[in-house]
C-alpha cells in the first residue's frame, strides 16, 4: 500500500508539472504574451514596461520556472479587470462552485444508485426500460440546453424556482439538476450493469440458497460487492462536475469560478482564465489521485 501510494503520488506530481507546461505554452502560442495579458489598446511603452516588470524578455525556460515558482506559492498574477490577485478572486468564487458540485453529486448518488439497483433487480420489466431510457436521454442531452428547458418550465411558466443567481436553496435546485444529468445517466448504467454481474455470481446463488431474505441478498451481498466500481466512477464524475459547471454557471448566472473564467475571456482578462484553468486541472488530477487511492483501500485485490 505504501509503495503504491508513493508511486501514484509521484505520477500525479509529474502530471501536474506537465499540465503547467501545457498551460504556460498556450499563453505563448498566440505570439506576444504581453499583448494577451494586457487587454485593450495600450501604448508600446506600457507593453515594454510590462515585459520588463514580468521578465518577458528573459529566455523562455527562465520564464517558465518563474511562472511555476509563482504558481507554487499561490501567486497566479493580477486580474486587470478587478485589479485584484487572481488567487483572491478564485477563493472568493470557489465556495459557490463547490456548493453546486456538491448538490449535483448528492442528486447523482440519491437518484442514480437506487435507480440502477432497481433496474437490475427488475431487469427486462417496464421499470428497467424507464431507467434505461432516462439514462439514455441524460447521456445525450447537453447540460446547457437541459438547464434552459428547466428554466422555461419551472421558472418562466410555473414560477417555482428562480431562473438565475445564488439566493438560497431554491436557486440551487435547477442548476444542480442540469449539472448532474450526465453523471446520473453514467452512474445509473454502471450501477445496473455492476449489479447484474454480481447478481449472476455463485455467492449470490449461495446466499439465496441459504434462505436469506431478498433484502439481505441485495443490500448485504450484492450492492456491497457492486459498490467498488460505482464509487470509482462517482469520484471521476466529481472531477467532471467541476468542469461541467463552466457551462451551467453561465446559464444560471451562478457566481462560481466557471462563470468567472468565461466572463474573463470576454473581458480579455487572460490572467484570470489561466488561473482558473490551472487551478481546475490540478484539482482534477488530485481528485483522480484520491479516487485511485480510495479504490486501493476498498479493493484488497488491487496492489502494485
Amino acid at each position: 500500500m505504501g509503495q503504491f501510494l508513493i508511486v501514484r503520488a509521484a505520477q500525479s506530481v509529474v502530471t501536474i508539472l506537465l499540465v503547467t507546461v501545457i498551460i504556460f505554452a498556450v499563453t505563448r502560442i498566440s505570439g506576444d504574451p504581453a499583448e494577451l495579458l494586457i487587454p485593450g489598446e495600450v501604448p508600446t511603452e506600457r507593453l515594454d514596461e510590462y515585459r520588463a516588470q514580468w521578465g518577458l524578455d528573459d529566455p523562455i525556460v527562465v520564464q517558465y520556472f518563474r511562472f511555476l515558482g509563482n504558481a507554487a506559492t499561490g501567486d497566479l498574477g493580477e486580474s486587470f479587470r478587478f485589479d485584484q490577485p487572481v488567487s483572491e478572486l478564485l477563493l472568493n468564487r470557489l465556495p459557490a462552485t463547490l456548493k453546486l458540485a456538491a448538490a449535483a453529486m448528492a442528486i447523482t448518488i440519491v437518484v442514480a444508485i437506487p435507480l440502477g439497483v432497481v433496474a437490475a433487480i427488475y431487469r427486462g420489466t417496464p421499470i428497467d426500460t424507464i431507467a434505461q431510457t432516462l439514462a439514455l436521454v441524460g447521456q445525450g442531452v447537453p447540460a446547457f440546453w437541459l438547464g434552459l428547458i428547466l428554466v422555461l418550465i419551472f421558472s418562466v411558466n410555473l414560477g417555482w424556482f428562480p431562473a438565475a443567481g445564488d439566493s438560497g436553496l431554491t436557486s440551487l435546485i435547477l442548476p444542480a439538476i442540469s449539472l448532474s444529468a450526465f453523471a446520473v445517466a453514467v452512474v445509473t448504467r454502471l450501477t445496473r450493469s455492476s449489479m447484474l454481474d454480481v447478481l449472476d455470481s455463485e455467492y449470490i446463488k449461495l446466499a439465496r440458497a441459504k434462505g436469506l431474505s431478498e433484502a439481505a441478498v441485495i443490500f448485504k451481498h450484492a450492492l456491497r460487492n457492486a459498490s467498488i466500481p460505482i464509487i470509482t466512477v462517482l469520484g471521476l464524475q466529481l472531477g467532471l462536475l467541476l468542469s461541467g459547471s463552466v457551462v451551467v454557471e453561465t446559464i444560471f448566472n451562478w457566481p462560481g469560478i466557471g462563470r468567472l473564467a468565461v466572463d474573463a475571456i470576454f473581458a480579455a482578462d487572460y490572467t484570470v482564465v489561466q488561473g482558473v484553468v490551472l487551478f481546475g486541472a490540478i484539482a482534477f488530477v488530485l481528485i483522480n489521485l484520491g479516487v485511485d487511492l480510495l479504490y486501493a483501500v476498498l479493493d484488497p485485490r488491487i496492489r502494485y
Partner: protein, 301 residues
C-alpha cells in the same frame, strides 16, 4: 449483415418470450442509423433543402411561431428568429457544423490516435513511455478548461474549437488502441508473422489492425455525442462558431433572450441535438454489444 443479426437476436433475449420478440419490428439499430443518415444527407444537401437564406431575414417576419401555431405560416415551418431568419433553414445549415465536428473530432482524431496507439503499443520502450505520459497529461485536463485556455488566447472561431477537439480527442483512441496492440503483440499469429520475416508495417497493417477495428468502430461511435455536445456548448457560450453562421448551440444561445415569448428558438435546435446524440449513443451501445463487449464500461460520451 441482416441475416446474421437476425439469427443473433433470437439468442440474446433469453428471458423475454422469443415468439413475442420475433414479431416486433426492431427499432435498434434501424432508427438511429436512419437518423444519422438523414443528418449526413441534410448536411451535404443543405443549400438544396433550405427554403430560405439562413443568414438573412426580413424584420417584418421576425419571431413568427412554427406553422402549427395559429399565428404561424407555412412559409416558415419552424418559425423565425428575432432577425426574421427562417429557423428551419438555420437548423439545416447547422447540421453542417455538427458534421464538420464529427469529421474532425471522430474521424481525423481516430486516425491520429490509432496510429499513435498502434506504434506505441507494438514497439513499447521509451517512445511508448513518453507518449503515454503525454496522453495521461492531456486526459488529466478537463477538455472544457483546455478550451477556455486555448480559445481565450486565440479567440473564438470554429477552427479553434476544432483545434481543441483534435488536441483532446486523439488521446482516448491512443490509449485504447495501445492496450489492444500491447495485448496482440505477443499473440501467436503475430509472432509467427515475425518469424516468417514480416516487416513491422505489414504486421501492424495486416495482423494487428484488423483485430482492433471493432474496438475502434465502437469507441468512435460512442464519442460522436461527446464532440457534438462539446462544440454546441462552446458555441452556446459564444466561444465557438460566430454569428451570423448557424450552429445549433449558437441558435440556442440567440433564442435564450426570447425564451418568454418564443420558446421554439431554444427548444427546436435542442431537440435536433438531443436526437443526434441519443441516436449516436444507441448505435454505439448496439455496436458494442455486438462487436466488443469488453468496452462495456467506456460508456457513451
Amino acid at each position: 449483415m441482416a441475416v446474421t443479426t437476425g439469427e443473433r437476436e433470437q439468442v440474446v433475449p433469453a428471458e423475454l418470450g422469443r415468439k413475442k420478440r420475433r414479431f416486433r419490428p426492431r427499432l435498434i439499430p434501424h432508427v438511429p442509423i436512419a437518423i444519422l443518415v438523414i443528418v449526413v444527407a441534410v448536411a451535404i444537401l443543405a443549400p438544396l433543402l433550405a427554403p430560405h437564406d439562413p443568414a438573412r431575414g426580413t424584420l417584418v417576419d421576425s419571431l413568427l411561431p412554427p406553422a402549427w401555431d395559429a399565428d404561424g405560416t407555412i412559409e416558415y415551418p419552424l418559425g423565425t428568429d428575432a432577425n426574421g431568419r427562417d429557423v428551419l433553414s438555420r437548423l439545416i445549415y447547422g447540421t453542417r457544423i455538427s458534421a464538420i465536428v464529427v469529421v474532425f473530432g471522430v474521424i481525423l482524431t481516430g486516425l491520429i490516435g490509432t496510429a499513435v496507439g498502434l506504434l506505441a503499443g507494438y514497439f513499447g520502450g521509451v517512445w511508448d513511455a513518453i507518449l503515454m505520459r503525454l496522453v495521461d497529461t492531456i486526459l488529466s485536463i478537463p477538455p472544457v478548461l483546455l478550451a477556455l485556455a486555448i480559445i481565450g488566447a486565440l479567440g473564438a472561431s470554429l477552427q479553434n474549437v476544432l483545434l481543441v477537439i483534435v488536441i483532446t480527442a486523439w488521446v482516448g483512441y491512443a490509449r485504447i488502441i495501445r492496450a489492444e496492440a500491447l495485448r496482440l503483440r505477443n499473440a501467436d499469429h503475430v509472432l509467427l508473422a515475425r518469424v516468417g520475416g514480416c516487416g513491422w508495417f505489414r504486421i501492424l497493417r495486416v495482423h494487428i489492425f484488423p483485430n482492433v477495428v471493432n474496438t475502434l468502430v465502437v469507441y468512435a461511435t460512442l464519442t460522436i455525442a461527446t464532440v457534438v455536445i462539446y462544440e454546441a456548448s462552446l458555441s452556446f457560450l459564444g466561444l465557438g462558431v460566430r454569428p451570423p453562421d448557424a450552429s445549433w448551440g449558437g441558435m440556442i444561445s440567440e433564442g435564450r433572450g426570447h425564451m418568454n415569448t418564443a420558446w421554439w428558438l431554444t427548444v427546436i435546435p435542442g431537440i435536433a441535438l438531443l436526437l443526434l446524440c441519443v441516436s449516436a449513443n444507441l448505435l454505439g451501445d448496439w455496436l458494442r454489444d455486438r462487436l466488443d463487449p469488453r468496452l462495456r464500461n467506456v460508456g457513451g460520451s
